[in-house]
C-alpha cells in the first residue's frame, strides 16, 4: 500500500536514500548498525526502498551488550528474517569474562566496555570501512554538531574540532587504509519526524514502545523494568505492575520507562506532542555531565 508522506518527510526520506546510495557506491565494506530501536527501524525501512528491487548490499550489525530487553532480541531476529539481510551479532567476550555489567560495574564502565569497545572490536573484526548509524542531530548538543559523514581515525576517534566541511550534498568519502566513516542518514530528522514516518509507513517497532502493564521498580525517580532475574532488588523493593512504555531503548537497567496510557501509534504521537521532557531524559548514561556524549563519541561511541 502506498503511504502518503508529507513533503517534509519525503524530503527527509530522499536525503537518507541519497546518503545510503553514496556509501554503497564509494565504500568497500559498509555495514548498518542495527540497534533495534525506532531509529534503526526507520533507517532499515528506508534502506529497503533505496536499493529496491535489490536487497540492501550490506549486512546488519548488532553490538549486543547482553543486557538488552528480551523483547528486543526477539524482535531483532524476526526483523533480520523478514528483510532477508545478513545479521552479524558481536558481544565483547572479554567484557563478559571480566563480569562487566550495568549492575556490577555501573553505567559508564558498562557502556564503555560493552558498547564502545564492543563496537570497535566488531568494526575491526569484519574490517568495515563505513558504518551507518541512526543518530539524529536533535538528540543531543554534540550530535547537533556532527557531520553526516563523520570521519574516524584508525583508532575510531572523532575529532570534533577538525571536521571536514560538508557542502551541498557532496560528501567527501575518501579515507586512508584503516580509517573509517560513521554515516548518519537520519541526521536531519527529529523525534517527531521519526514517529510520523513510522505511522505513515507502518514501520514495525518493538512492542516496548507501546504502553502495557510491566513489572517495574522505582529508583532515583526512574522506573526500571525488571526484565529478568539479573536485576538485584534492593532491600524493600518489590516489582509492581504499572502501565508503562519506553521512549528510547537501551540496556534495560539503564533505560527508564514512563507511565503512559499510549498503547497505539496515534496515542504515542499525541503524547509526544504534549511532552515537556527530552527523549534521552530516560537514558541514565547521558546524565553524568553536559559533555558526556561528546566524550563518549570521541572514544568511538556512536
Amino acid at each position: 500500500m502506498k503511504s502518503i508522506l508529507s513533503p517534509h518527510l519525503l524530503r527527509l526520506e530522499a536525503e537518507a536514500i541519497f546518503i545510503m546510495r553514496e556509501v554503497v557506491a564509494e565504500f568497500e565494506r559498509p555495514v548498518m548498525l542495527y540497534s533495534i530501536g525506532k531509529d534503526s527501524g526507520v533507517m532499515l525501512h528506508i534502506a529497503q526502498k533505496a536499493f529496491f528491487p535489490a536487497k540492501p548490499p550490506f549486512p546488519l550489525l548488532h553490538v549486543d551488550t547482553t543486557w538488552k530487553f528480551q523483547e528486543m532480541i526477539a524482535f531483532r531476529d524476526q526483523t533480520a528474517a523478514r528483510v532477508g539481510m545478513e545479521l552479524l551479532v558481536h558481544i565483547n567476550e572479554d567484557g563478559v569474562r571480566r563480569g562487566v555489567s550495568p549492575v556490577a560495574s555501573g553505567s559508564s564502565v558498562h557502556t564503555q566496555v560493552m558498547k564502545t569497545e564492543g563496537l570497535r572490536q566488531a568494526l575491526d573484526k569484519w574490517k568495515f570501512d563505513a558504518a551507518f548509524g541512526g543518530a539524529r542531530r536533535d538528540e543531543e548538543k554534540s550530535r547537533a554538531k556532527e557531520r553526516i559523514f563523520s570521519h574516524r581515525s584508525t583508532a575510531h576517534a572523532w575529532d570534533p574540532r577538525n571536521q571536514r566541511p560538508e557542502l551541498w550534498n557532496i560528501f567527501n568519502t575518501r579515507i586512508k587504509p584503516g580509517e573509517s566513516m560513521r554515516v548518519f542518514p537520519l541526521s536531519n530528522w527529529t523525534e517527531i519526524d521519526v514517529w510520523d514516518y513510522i505511522a505513515a509507513e507502518e514501520v514495525p517497532i518493538v512492542p516496548l514502545y507501546l504502553a502495557k502493564e510491566r513489572p517495574v521498580v522505582e529508583r532515583g525517580g526512574a522506573l526500571i523494568m525488571v526484565d529478568d532475574d539479573r536485576l538485584p532488588l534492593l532491600p524493600g523493593e518489590t516489582p509492581r505492575m504499572e502501565k508503562v512504555r519506553f521512549r528510547t531503548l537501551g540496556c534495560y537497567p539503564l533505560t527508564g520507562a514512563m507511565r503512559s496510557e499510549a498503547s497505539t501509534l496515534p496515542e504515542i504521537l499525541a503524547e509526544m506532542r504534549a511532552s515537556t521532557m527530552s527523549e534521552r531524559e530516560g537514558r541514565l548514561i547521558d546524565h553524568d555531565e553536559s559533555g558526556s556524549m561528546e566524550k563518549k563519541k570521541r572514544e568511538g561511541y556512536f
Partner: protein, 647 residues
C-alpha cells in the same frame, strides 16, 4: 523561571499539518551568520525558548551550565543551548555549525547556527550551502564589520537570495532609530552588487526578545515584521522542477540479469516514462522506460526525489554519468571557470593535482590559472598567486577527462563541486562553476597519423617513464645514469631528465618554494609525456617531494606507463654523504625550503619499485630496475642483465 517554561511548554511540539488544512509553506532551511559576539547563538536560543521548544530537562541543564560557563551574569545564557562542544562552552564561542530543528504551528525550520570567527568561515560556508535564507546579525553599536561583509559575500556567492539584516543589541543603543537606519543604509550600499532578491532589516534584542517572536513596544518606529512572523511566511524556494531535467547517476542497480536500473536523486526538472534523455558525456540517447519505486512504479517524479530509472535501450552508463533532457543539454568540457572558496590550511597550488567531486563524479583536476582573489570588504579584485584558508578566488580549472555541468547560477547541484587534497583527503575547497571554457572543444588534438605505438614498434620497446624520487643525496642520479647506460648499450632509445638539464633551461624561472616545486614537476611531467609520445623510455630524476605532483604526472600518462622508483636511502645516510654540501647549509639555515630539513618529503605509498634499502648498492639497484622493465614487458629479455652491474 522553570515553572513558567513548563507551563508554556504545554502547547508542546506541533507540526504544521496539525493546525491548518491549507498546505503549509515548505520547510525553511536558514542560517544565522555575522561577526563574533553579535549574538547568533543567543538569538536561536531565544527563539527556541519563546516558542516553548526547550524541554524541561534541557532547561534544567541550561540553568546549571549558565552558572558554570555563562557570560550573562545571573541570567540564562541561551547561547549554551546551541554551543554543544566542550571547547565552545569553555571559550564561550561557536566553532562549528549546529543544526536546530524548530516547528511552529505555521512552519518547520532547520536552522544552522554558524561560527563568527574568521578562522571558522569554512564552517559558515558549509551551512550556507544547504540554506535558502540567511539571518545576518549586526551589533547595533558596532555596525558593519569585516566579518559581516565576508559573510554577506559568501552568502551571495553560494546563491542565497534572501537576507534578514538583524540589527541586534538594539536595547544597548536605547532603541535608536537613526543608528539602525544608518546600518541599514550602509549594508544596502555594500550589498548593491550582491544580487539579493530581498533584504529585510529588523531591529532586535536577542537577549531580551524585542522583535523576535513578537513586535516590540520599544521600537514603535519599526514598520516591518517581527523576525518569526517574517520567517513563517517568506517564500524563498525556486521551483527546481521547472528547470531542465538533470539526473546524476549515483549507483547502478543490477540485482539480476534482467534488471538494470539507474539510482539517483533528480537534481532538477521532472521525468515521465517515454521522455527522451541523453547521457551528457557520450551523447547517446534513449527513452525512460520505468520509474521504479518500492511501492510500485511512478507516473512521474520531480526535483529532489530519489528514484531508480530504467531505459528503453542498453546504454553504457555508470556512476558519475549525468542523464539530461535531450533538448536542453548541460555543458560537457574539461575546462571551465569557477569561484573557489578555499577551506584548507594548505594553500592552493596552481598546477597541483586535486580530486574534483561533482555529483557522483570524481576526476583529477588542476587549477590552471588563478585570475584573482576577491577582497571581501570591497568586493574588488586582488592579484593572487595562491589562495589561503577562507579566501575566495576566481580561476580556470582543467579536469583529466571531460565532465558534464551547468553554471552554478542555473543549477546548484550540477554547478557545484568540492576539491579534495589527494595527500590528506581533506576537503580543500568549495567550487561554483561560472561557465565552461570553449577552448577545450575548439582546440582538437591533432589526429596524428603516426602514433606512439608505431614509433615504439620501430624501436622494439614500449615507452615508459621511470620516475626516480627520493631525498637529495639518495643516489637518484647515480642509479638512473647506470640504468640509462645499460639501456643505451643494448640499443634502446632513452632520454634522461634531471635538475641539471631542466632547471637550467625550461624551468630556470622557478625557485624552490612549494608553489614553484609544483610547477617544476608539472612541466617535467608534460615534457616526459611528449617524450613517451616519441616512443622513448624517459628517466626522470627529481626529489619531487609531494605525492600529489607525482600523481599528477602519473595521471598525464597512459595506464601502466608511469613507474615510480622510490630511492629509499635513509636521511642519516644522505646527510652523511652530502655530496654537494647542501645539507650542511640547510641545517645551518643558509638554504630555505630544503627537502628533509625544513620541507617535508612525502614517501610514495605504492611505488612500482623500491631501491637502495638495506644497503643495496647503486649497481644492484640498477640491475633490479632493468629486470623489472623486462618483467613488465617494456623491453625484450634478449640479455640477462645479472643481479649487479658492478660484477
Amino acid at each position: 523561571m522553570l515553572e513558567s517554561v513548563a507551563a508554556a511548554s504545554s502547547h508542546g511540539l506541533s507540526t504544521p499539518t496539525e493546525t491548518s488544512d491549507a498546505a503549509p509553506p515548505p520547510t525553511l532551511r536558514l542560517l544565522t551568520c555575522g561577526s563574533v559576539d553579535d549574538g547568533k547563538s543567543t538569538l536561536i536560543g531565544r527563539l527556541l525558548f519563546e516558542q516553548s521548544l526547550i524541554f524541561d530537562d534541557h532547561f534544567a541543564a541550561l540553568e546549571r551550565d549558565s552558572k558554570r560557563h555563562g557570560t550573562t551574569g545571573d541570567d540564562i545564557d541561551f547561547a549554551l543551548l546551541v554551543d554543544g562542544l566542550e571547547a565552545e562552552r569553555e571559550q564561550g564561542i561557536t566553532i562549528d555549525v549546529a543544526y536546530r530543528y524548530v516547528s511552529t504551528p505555521r512552519r518547520a525550520f532547520i536552522i544552522a547556527d554558524t561560527p563568527g570567527h574568521e578562522q571558522y568561515t569554512r564552517n559558515m560556508a558549509t551551512a550556507a550551502s544547504s540554506a535558502s535564507l540567511a539571518i545576518l546579525l549586526v551589533d547595533a553599536r558596532k555596525g558593519l564589520l569585516t566579518q559581516t561583509c565576508r559573510h554577506a559575500a559568501i552568502v551571495s556567492l553560494i546563491g542565497i537570495r534572501h537576507v534578514v539584516l538583524a540589527v541586534n543589541k538594539i536595547d544597548l543603543t536605547g532603541f535608536d532609530e537613526a543608528g539602525f537606519n544608518k546600518i541599514v543604509a550602509d549594508f544596502k550600499a555594500f550589498a548593491a552588487t550582491l544580487g539579493f532578491a530581498s533584504i529585510t532589516p529588523i531591529p532586535i534584542s536577542a537577549r531580551h526578545g524585542d522583535n523576535v517572536s513578537e513586535k516590540s513596544a520599544n521600537t514603535p518606529w519599526h514598520k516591518g515584521p517581527a523576525l518569526l512572523s517574517f520567517l513563517e511566511t517568506v517564500e524563498v524556494e525556486e521551483d527546481q522542477s521547472a528547470k531542465p531535467f538533470r539526473f546524476p547517476v549515483q549507483w547502478v542497480n543490477r540485482p539480476h540479469l534482467d534488471f538494470r536500473g539507474f539510482a539517483g536523486t533528480i537534481a532538477s526538472g521532472t521525468v515521465r516514462p517515454g521522455d527522451e534523455i541523453v547521457v551528457a558525456g557520450s551523447g547517446k540517447t534513449s527513452k525512460v522506460a520505468r520509474i521504479v519505486a518500492a511501492d510500485g512504479d511512478l507516473a512521474s517524479a520531480g526535483a529532489g526525489e530519489a528514484v531508480t530509472l530504467t531505459l528503453a535501450d542498453e546504454l553504457d552508463i555508470a556512476r558519475g554519468d549525468l542523464l539530461s533532457d535531450a533538448k536542453s543539454r548541460p555543458d560537457v568540457s574539461d575546462q571551465f571557470a569557477a569561484h573557489l572558496i578555499w577551506m584548507s590550511e594548505d594553500k592552493l597550488m596552481p598546477g597541483r593535482s586535486y580530486l574534483l567531486k561533482s555529483g557522483a563524479k570524481t576526476v583529477p583536476v588542476t587549477v590552471t590559472e588563478l585570475k584573482h582573489r576577491i577582497d571581501v570588504n570591497t568586493l574588488g579584485q586582488l592579484p593572487a598567486r595562491t589562495l589561503s584558508l577562507n579566501e575566495v578566488g576566481v580561476c580556470n580549472l582543467a579536469t583529466a577527462s571531460p565532465i558534464a555541468f551547468d553554471p552554478y547560477a542555473d543549477n546548484h547541484t550540477t554547478g557545484s563541486f568540492i576539491l579534495i587534497d589527494r595527500a590528506t583527503n581533506a576537503t580543500a575547497a568549495a567550487g561554483l562553476v561560472s561557465f565552461g571554457l570553449r577552448r577545450a572543444t575548439n582546440i582538437h588534438r591533432h589526429g596524428l597519423s603516426i602514433g606512439k605505438l608505431d614509433r615504439a614498434r620501430l624501436n622494439n620497446q614500449k615507452p615508459a617513464v621511470l620516475w626516480f624520487t627520493g631525498l637529495s643525496g639518495s643516489g637518484k642520479s647515480t642509479i638512473s645514469n647506470l640504468v640509462e647506460s645499460w639501456l643505451f648499450a643494448h640499443g634502446l632509445r632513452t632520454v634522461l631528465l634531471d635538475g641539471d638539464n631542466i632547471r637550467h633551461g625550461l624551468n630556470k624561472n622557478l625557485g624552490f618554494t612549494e608553489v614553484d616545486r609544483v610547477e617544476n614537476i608539472r612541466r617535467v611531467g608534460e615534457v616526459a609525456k611528449l617524450m613517451t609520445d616519441a616512443g622513448l623510455i624517459v628517466l626522470c630524476s627529481f626529489i619531487s617531494p609531494f605525492a600529489a605532483e607525482r600523481q599528477l604526472v602519473r595521471d598525464l600518462l597512459d595506464d601502466g606507463e608511469f613507474l615510480e622508483v622510490f630511492v629509499d636511502t635513509p636521511i642519516e645516510e644522505c646527510i652523511a654523504r652530502d655530496p654537494k654540501g647542501l645539507y650542511k647549509k640547510a641545517i645551518a639555515g643558509e638554504i630555505k625550503n630544503f627537502t628533509g630539513v625544513d620541507q617535508r618529503y612525502e614517501a610514495p605509498l605504492n611505488p612500482e619499485m623500491i631501491v637502495a634499502r638495506d644497503g643495496q648498492t647503486p649497481q644492484q639497484a640498477a640491475a633490479a630496475i632493468v629486470k623489472e622493465l623486462i618483467r613488465r614487458g617494456f623491453i625484450d629479455s634478449f640479455a640477462d642483465p645479472g643481479d649487479d652491474f658492478s660484477i
